[in-house]
Subunit: 105 residues, 2 copies
């Protein structure tokens, strides 16, 4: 199933999962301990995250370690780029204003 990264990071639990596995790979059971939901619910979140390729699996015996595919997060970063340009423009404009004030002094 084709999934959207933005839709995947919309849920706060999923964002927390992402933050956790960014540091180190974790199993569904280990993850579930951090939340007030069932293991199956966490498993569903992991499925969604896997489908949009934000997360990858590593099988180890009967355990499955989930880890973050940090590169996929760049899609969000890329979308933000257009707004970053605006911040910078605003910032430079402010800079000019300050420079003008200085000159007038």
């Amino acid at each position: 199933m084709r999934r959207d990264v933005f839709q995947a990071i919309a849920d706060p639990t999923r964002r927390a999962i992402i933050t956790l596995i960014a540091l180190q790979a974790m199993t569904p059971n280990a993850l579930a301990e951090h939340f007030d939901t069932s293991r199956q619910a966490v498993s569903k979140h992991l499925k969604i995250l896997t489908e949009c390729e934000l997360v990858e699996q590593t099988h180890q015996g009967r355990e499955i370690y989930y880890q973050l595919n940090v590169n996929k997060m760049k899609e969000v970063d890329k979308w933000l780029e257009q707004f970053r340009k605006i911040w910078e423009k605003r910032f430079n404009q402010l800079d000019n204003v300050l420079a003008n004030l200085k000159n007038k002094k």
Copy 2:
């Protein structure tokens, strides 16, 4: 109503609206022309975007101009910061590998 920025940018239509009004303030009618939905549907999206403070209104006669509050987008940028750190770390590690290869040559 308290709204989440991440939930707000999850919808593709809303992201398109944001991109449009990032360039210049627009009315709901003008926006609706860009999409294959009713004006009321666009209005609903604008309401959600306004509730989470991603968008601001300017009343002008009977028209309402909506514009982006670009600062709010920094919340997303701030969340991405943790992953940017990882990118940079990986990049530096790759850099070290390349440097080592060079030295061995």
